[in-house]
Symmetry: C2
Subunit: 355 residues, 2 copies
């Protein structure tokens, strides 16, 4: 397999010069697109869509047909690993994930099998292989996983949560058990992400959606430590090229310097931190990805352009910026509004790269 024709993303993630700022959107293959909703209806359920490589490939490519994006991201879910660990994952319509057998005791943790990325999770690797082939080198493919802490919150709570009572009870009441669970998840994630890059993923992202609910000390001990373990365990070169690793903790603006120190290549930044401040905080150690407030896409196109300009100006001159939303695109955003964002980045970003 050859290098992508458009390698702006990979170059920006490695802080190599580019002629403009590359961009993609978190959850770019998603419910805001009618063609996605059609494919999902065909699949029957969200989980069935994730587990069908042909359909997962189809929805992965859909946003690239509409928009001039600089990356594809594997269509999947961060809960594929617990699903493969047999905890009884289901997605109820409009309800979010439910886990039938929450993991709360040492015995529960002992029972967790280590999933085989080319066994129970082969459907993910098949999707990666298929997408990579179908992309035919147009743009690079990003693989991903959830952070151990984030996955643990779902496994321990038995689904989404607002107060995180069960996992926090474990954190403060039996931290050794929680550490064992996090270590199992970190090891499973390393195998999973390495299999994704072996199958063709050209960059890897770790989503730490819930790291921001921890104290600073708790974040370092229960989330960052395991992302560090993952960064240390990843194969960093494939096909003669570095595989950039992106870490993203939502609500983790204060911890960007600690995250940069893991040896990852880039950090996702949500919209609550200015990119100028983030850049000052991390120096030239890592690239930054973000950070338009996804709700900006509710605004009229002219205002979207103003807000895109602000994000670009906040990062400023030079390489090392991948434009993105600060979180996943909302399902009720009009597709033309996403187009306004994409076009604005194409039009307004060259001036920050000597263009």
């Amino acid at each position: 397999m050859s290098a992508p024709a458009n390698d702006l993303l990979l170059r920006a993630l490695l802080r190599e010069p580019t002629t403009r700022t590359p961009l993609w959107m978190m959850r770019q293959a998603g419910r805001y697109l009618p063609e996605y909703r059609a494919t999902r209806a065909k699949a029957g359920s969200f989980l069935a869509l994730c587990m069908n490589p042909e359909l997962a490939c189809e929805v992965t490519l859909q946003p690239l047909e509409r928009y001039r994006l600089d990356a594809a991201i594997l269509f999947s879910d961060i809960l594929t690993i617990p699903h493969a660990m047999n905890v009884g994952l289901e997605f109820e319509a409009g309800e979010g994930p439910k886990i039938a057998r929450p993991v709360r005791t040492a015995a529960d943790i002992d029972r967790l099998p280590m999933p085989d990325p080319e066994g129970e999770l082969r459907y993910v690797m098949d999707a990666v292989r298929l997408i990579r082939r179908e992309l035919a080198g147009r743009v690079p493919l990003i693989g991903f996983a959830g952070s151990p802490w984030t996955i643990a919150t779902y496994m321990v709570e038995g689904g989404g949560s607002k107060s995180f009572q069960h996992v926090k009870r474990m954190l403060y009441g039996s931290p050794r058990e929680l550490h064992r669970l996090l270590d199992v998840l970190a090891r499973a994630t390393i195998a999973y992400l390495n299999a994704q890059s072996a199958a063709g993923a050209q960059a890897l992202m770790v989503f730490d959606t819930w790291g921001g609910v921890l104290t600073p000390a708790g974040y370092r001990e229960f989330s960052l430590q395991y992302m560090q373990q993952i960064v240390d365990g990843l194969v960093r070169e494939r096909e003669g090229r570095r595989v950039p690793v992106i870490l993203f903790t939502k609500g983790g603006g204060a911890w960007l310097p600690d995250m940069a120190a893991t040896g990852c290549d880039a950090l996702g930044v949500d919209w609550t931190t200015d990119l100028a401040d983030a850049r000052r905080a991390v120096g030239d150690r890592v690239a930054l990805q973000g950070n338009l407030d996804p709700s900006v896409l509710y605004a009229p196109p002219a205002e979207i352009r103003v807000q895109v300009a602000r994000v670009l100006a906040s990062y400023g001159e030079g390489t090392g910026h991948v434009f993105n939303l600060g979180h996943g695109i909302h399902p009720d955003v009009p597709p033309e509004h996403a187009l306004a964002m994409v076009e604005a980045v194409h039009e307004l970003s060259p001036r920050y790269h000597g263009g």
Copy 2:
């Protein structure tokens, strides 16, 4: 009315010396207490409880009977102002607040009446007067209101929200309308809080629960600006004593210096920021209130003590710290666990005050 026998809270909020660190708990009169649940059952509904001065007084005093707390806080809700503005507020069991007539257009905003604190909101002032009398000077009474931004999110969304789509659509799409709504709310809040202190509240707190979902620029423009207006509009002295004003933005750790610059006396800090960092960031301009992760109270009492010690040590020596949770106490916490926290503060804090 005389000065409270225990004025530790007022002294710490004004950074005057104390012999130990005072404490109270956000939502200390709440569902975790069986006696609260009994009174609420008697009232019939949450809103009926808020609107009945005798019962509101009863639940306000309940936690003081159990715990050695250094403040009472008026039992009420941040949505009393929209309720008085006739938007059709209801609290559905287990569902949170619902607003029958959301405020989304200029015409909706024009229709909002300015509530009279001694008229439609007299039940709140009656509760303040009654609680102050019943407290008989034991500890000071804190009055409160929601921030204009936070109240606006409920009024525009029509209830709680995760994506804040309607209010953010207004923010990015018709910011002038949103500013008009926020100005109406700020003016109503000034009158409301001044009436509370006239009725006997000895400190005032503004809860900005949702400021943390904004960008830094959005926070300054749509939330902080209106808290500034409130700080500027409050009567700061009553009964010959300063009425300290506390601002609290959940998720606002990065903005503490901007908040301190409003001229308030103290800042609430949630558990995602270390008090040591917060103290460095604000210098000696304001006192700090917080910030034990409320989920620590799920842990066994011995661990609660360890975590209390950490919070006290993080703030360090000297006055200007009011111990509190970093957010409201969870409804499913055992009351003995709250006791362990209270006792630990009494026992461990004198050493930070030369004791």
